[in-house]
Symmetry: D2
């Protein structure tokens, strides 16, 4: 679904790497990739992603009722529902991811910036925030996992591979 919407999961892993590297000099890109895959495997995340991308796609085809369709199409800054869905993803790994989410949402690093540039008929109102939410969650997961071993659902084994 991400691929279809023009997002490569490796690009999300790269953002996680940039976020977390300063705090963990030994971090490897594969660990970030594994963490992103774990986040998007969570049901809570999948529900938010499915819903957000559906709203983007429907707005693209002008299939949402008005005034919602116009609000989503122009990524109205006071809309807020896109941030709410993305935060539901970030929250899966606790409050420490919220800081990264806000930072990513503002700085538009990597793929997030590309998605945010309105081009043609593409609507990515939800997608750019979801990507930021996933990256922030994956970074928080690594931050927790580094110290917590068994605690965070099996991460360390996978990470050390």
């Amino acid at each position: 679904m991400f691929k279809e919407r023009g997002v490569d999961v490796g690009e999300i892993a790269r953002i996680v790497f940039e976020l977390q590297r300063p705090h963990m000099p030994g971090l490897r890109l594969e660990q970030c990739m594994a963490s992103v895959l774990k986040v998007i495997g969570k049901r809570e995340a999948q529900h938010a992603i499915l819903t957000g991308i559906a709203l983007d796609m429907l707005a693209e085809r002008n299939a949402l009722p008005e005034p919602l369709n116009s609000i989503v199409r122009r990524d109205e800054p006071l809309y807020g529902v896109d941030e709410i869905l993305a935060l539901a993803v970030t929250n899966i790994y606790g409050s420490i991811g919220l800081t990264s989410f806000g930072y990513l949402d503002k700085m538009k690093l990597g793929v997030i910036g590309r998605l945010n540039n309105k081009n043609g008929d593409r609507v990515n109102t939800f997608l750019d925030d979801l990507v930021a939410g996933i990256a922030a969650a994956a970074a928080a997961r690594i931050a927790h996992g580094g110290e917590e071993a068994e605690e965070v659902d099996g991460w360390p084994q996978a990470a050390s591979g």
Copy 2:
């Protein structure tokens, strides 16, 4: 929009009245009505309501992509996005409304119970939670307003009547 979906704003006011009456013996139904109208007049609330009702309506017409359409149609208990949107409404008046939201969501008081009963082709997955969220927010607003006068946007004049 509520009317079209089978919800009368007076029914929401009645829930607020039942919630808040035990704590405020002098409370009148009109105050609850005024508080509900103030809540649904807030932009943050309107965006959540527009989005949730759109998703209900699209699911009703089988116009959401799968598997989302089926998840929304059967009000899958682990979906969670419906609660997230409703809580965004409740949060407008702070954390004290969260308790009432959970209580309403569980007890299905009044119109919430009616909406929650799947009947025919109607899909109210988002609507029943949104009504609970609005009622909880309106009750929290009254709780704050009773003591806080000027603080909560102009409510007290109405309350002191």
Copy 3:
């Protein structure tokens, strides 16, 4: 720490059992106990619990600065910080626990009701909400685990017993 504050972990498990039993006829008390232990083993939960209980204890000894000390001592209904900390615990297992939290906070089931009864010099302003938050999280964890096998940190093996 719970024991010292008069809470037996088994009492929390009993609340989880009452919450979740109607949805899972085969549920056993030991599963609820295991889920409670998993929740209170999470760092996010521990930080909220340590902070809340410290605030209760300091208020008990009148060691908080005023006006905070009085607000916490009388469990001022508009305080809100107690609910916020408890919700941070509930959120660990996603939004579906929020409903149970609100219900427990209102109905004061079991030990929560006992804690909430102000008696003598005991201050349990944070503790009763934290217990509700833990119970709601543990119930949500079971709800997720029933279907999600590997996903929720290793729970299912225990659940399938």
Copy 4:
């Protein structure tokens, strides 16, 4: 209380100005000041501020129970309760403030950076996040107020003064 902890409200207004100016060329510093005062006048915000500053002060005097005292003293990055309290303030003006909060928390603009530098025996674990939360809320309030006039509790009149 802020003054006593070394924070001037004008410094918070300056952060709001830097945040919001790019979006509103005509914005004046006094409007930011008025918005900050409105935010810290809200009960929900005051409760979070009182609680957070009390925890900082108690940690400074080593008056919290261990291990909490050490966690707060060294501003342990995985603690999370400081962010949770700050977000309760930001949330007062809806989800759009969350982005600014994360950005401020990461970039440590102005007074936030100064507070965050551990110096001597000062503990500002909660205070730096609270300042970021207040600034983000005040900026969100201005963003809403610019279009919403009457809606956001009387802001425009005060702002135009």
